[in-house]
């Protein structure tokens, strides 16, 4: 150290922990000079490249068989095909390369030496592998359309089917029919501007998908709600595509770092009940999928033979969502992509003029900064979240995000929330007939009981749709006026319409009535009375 600079000397006293332990030699082979530091451990390039493949297989393969293996490892026999969710980002680029090497090209270098040539891993596991890209550029102003670039990137690989979607397909009836969704006539919309989320008849029944998308997004209360909703729409488009391609498995390129981000930002947005699904989930469509005649024929031969007999109907099909890179940090993904010559198309930032960064962006900045200074903390976050066991009973799945909804959340939320706005007609609200008919009608506004979307939502989606920002939020699409009644995604509309046609099943499935009631101010005061402090 040189003399002189007092500022530098002060910093020298507080030097951070060295980024790597002990020597610069590889911790694995102990011989080679290290090339990469991963959470304080040094690896040479050779050992690191194998480590990534190993961690990928170690995470994915135990989830391949419908039931987990016993002590003896059996052959990998998935119940269907494989769908890769591809965003163009670093994680999914690494994931696609790994899937191709391990299960399509059957690259010898990805096989474990201990397996021998008769090891089941040396066979192709999935009959068909598809890749699905959802272009979100139409959700954000000025965003570049990468569809062509992505299609070119995927052409690098042989033996893959490419499915290209756009985010507005979530509002497209023809897409819904194409993936075998139950047809419905779109009639209901939701009053997103109203926190009671009343269901109303749509004024015009045929708005094009793009307009529906932009109206939906523009009517959301916060930038966080917009990005979260785009993520949810993308996830559901992929889940239904998985079903349509006969896929039993849907894989995402979520790295350890991105998983930590989604866990933390999810909890911050009220999705703590679904913290496990953020890591891995088994999704079964609701209502049970459509008659066999409408199921695409290509998925028929993909059925697992052992299930064929007892489950000939497609109703019970499940898609298992797995994140095989969840033990690999962003840094590992970046180094592996660089050393393996995997190009990254890239992903644009989601945002628009005037919008402050949402919870997701803020969380990401925080986690990435944390990972740089304290590389082990991020995996600790993920491990800690993995130990959390949400309490509470599941009550069906959320009509919007399709994740398990917690029973009783709406009552709880109604008890703790104080509405700032007085009811439209308190007398009518108190004395009106309590009409149990679920059927919505244009004159419903005069009635005390009106159908609402609320009982169908999980806590997180309800929060997303209703929690207001203190400051007004600039709309990404100012030209598309916030509409009083907003069209919902096709899968939501389909469930609403089947619920409408079959009230008994609705109340059976959800165990709740499809209604909400405005409460008079005095009545509300009575309810909260015991919690009020004397002043």
């Amino acid at each position: 150290m040189s003399c002189g600079n007092p500022v530098a000397d002060a910093d020298a006293l507080m030097q951070r922990r060295k980024k790597y332990d002990k020597t610069k030699n590889c911790v694995k082979c102990k011989v080679a000079q290290g090339n990469l530091v991963i959470r304080h451990a040094v690896y040479c390039k050779e050992c690191f490249l194998h480590l990534v493949v190993h961690k990928f297989r170690r995470t994915l393969e135990p989830t391949v068989n419908p039931k987990p293996d016993g002590p003896r490892r059996t052959a990998l026999k998935p119940a269907g095909n494989l769908l890769v969710g591809f965003s163009g980002g670093l994680g999914s680029s690494v994931l696609l390369e790994l899937v191709h090497r391990c299960y399509i090209a059957l690259d010898k270098s990805t096989m474990l030496a201990d397996g021998g040539s008769h090891h089941p891993r040396h066979e192709r596991v999935w009959k068909r592998v598809s890749v699905c890209y959802v272009e979100v550029c139409d959700a954000f102003p000025g965003m570049k359309d990468r569809t062509e670039e992505i299609a070119r990137h995927i052409k690098r690989y042989d033996g893959l089917d490419f499915v290209s979607l756009r985010i507005q397909d979530a509002f497209d009836l023809s897409w819904w029919k194409r993936v075998g969704g139950k047809p419905f006539s779109s009639e209901l919309g939701v009053t997103l501007a109203d926190e009671d989320l009343f269901l109303e008849s749509l004024a015009s029944k045929s708005s094009d998908p793009l307009t529906s998308l932009r109206t939906y997004l523009s009517s959301l209360p916060t930038p966080t709600a917009i990005t979260t909703s785009v993520q949810t729409l993308t996830r559901l488009l992929l889940l239904h595509t998985a079903l349509h391609t006969g896929s039993s498995h849907l894989v995402f390129g979520t790295s350890l770092t991105s998983l930590a981000v989604s866990l933390i930002s999810g909890v911050a947005q009220g999705s703590g009940f679904n913290i496990r699904e953020e890591t891995q989930e088994d999704w079964t469509p609701e209502p049970p999928e459509v008659s066999a005649s409408e199921v695409p024929e290509e998925s028929t031969n993909a059925r697992d033979s052992q299930h064929e007999g007892k489950k000939a109907r497609k109703g019970k099909r499940t898609v298992r969502v797995v994140r095989p890179l969840r033990d690999l940090g962003m840094k590992e993904c970046a180094a592996w992509a660089w050393w393996s010559d995997v190009p990254v198309v890239g992903k644009e930032k989601w945002g628009w003029a005037g919008a402050r960064p949402g919870i997701g962006t803020l969380t990401k900045d925080f986690i990435v900064g944390l990972e740089k200074e304290y590389p082990s903390t991020v995996s600790t976050i993920v491990r800690t979240c993995g130990k959390l066991a949400p309490k509470g009973e599941v009550s069906g799945s959320c009509i919007l995000c399709a994740r398990p909804a917690q029973r009783g959340v709406q009552e709880w939320k109604a008890r703790i929330s104080i509405r700032s706005r007085p009811p439209v007609d308190p007398i009518a609200a108190l004395n009106g007939p309590s009409d149990p008919v679920v059927e919505p009608s244009p004159v419903a506004s005069a009635k005390p009981l009106r159908p609402s979307l609320t009982p169908y939502l999980c806590y997180a989606c309800h929060t997303t749709l209703t929690s207001k920002s203190a400051r007004p939020v600039p709309s990404p699409w100012p030209a598309d006026a916030r509409s009083a009644i907003v069209t919902l995604p096709v899968w939501t509309e389909a469930r609403l319409s089947s619920a409408k046609g079959d009230n008994d099943r609705t109340s059976h499935v959800h165990g709740e009535i499809l209604q909400t009631r405005r409460v008079r101010e005095e009545e509300m005061k009575e309810i909260v009375d015991e919690f009020l402090l004397d002043d």
Partner: protein, 156 residues
């Protein structure tokens, strides 16, 4: 000021400020050339060109690239101090980072530099090795080095 390379070592030493004592012979070269590569989408900030050859002075002002001094105190964020009598040191990786910002970066410096070093989420390789093994910004550049900057921030 130290070129051309035909100067004798003695001449060079004579021309140097007396407070600095040379510790190695690398000062006989007045400039070094390094290869710089960008990956993971970071090239988009550098006119979408992945590979660059960069010539740098072999010795640079101490205050310029000191990542630990606050910007206001040492002018770390303000760019090269060309004062002849500023104390000098062998060119290091921190200097290269500022040099890239000042000379090659086309847009949005905040996506490359933060708090006097590369932004979190950018992986730096020095001749194929993690810069964390090489002392990060304090790594002294050598002629012919290959420095790679890879963004990890382009999502999952």
């Amino acid at each position: 000021m130290l070129s051309p390379a035909t100067h004798t070592l003695a001449q060079i030493l004579d021309s140097r400020p007396s407070t600095i004592h040379p510790t190695s012979l690398d000062i006989v070269m007045s400039t070094i050339t390094v290869k710089v590569e960008f990956g993971g989408g970071l090239e988009l900030l550098f006119s979408n060109q992945r590979s660059h050859r960069v010539a740098l002075p072999a010795r640079v002002p101490v205050s310029y690239s000191n990542p630990f001094s606050p910007p206001s105190a040492a002018g770390a964020e303000q760019g090269i101090q060309n004062s002849e009598d500023a104390p000098k040191k062998p060119v290091d990786l921190s200097y290269l980072i500022f040099w890239l910002r000042d000379n090659l970066l086309k847009e949005r410096a905040e996506l490359f530099i933060e708090n006097g070093t590369v932004r979190p989420g950018i992986l730096v390789l020095v001749n194929d090795a993690d810069w964390e093994l090489e002392g990060e910004g304090e790594y002294q550049l050598k002629d012919g080095d290959e420095i790679v900057f890879i963004s990890t921030l382009h999502g999952g």
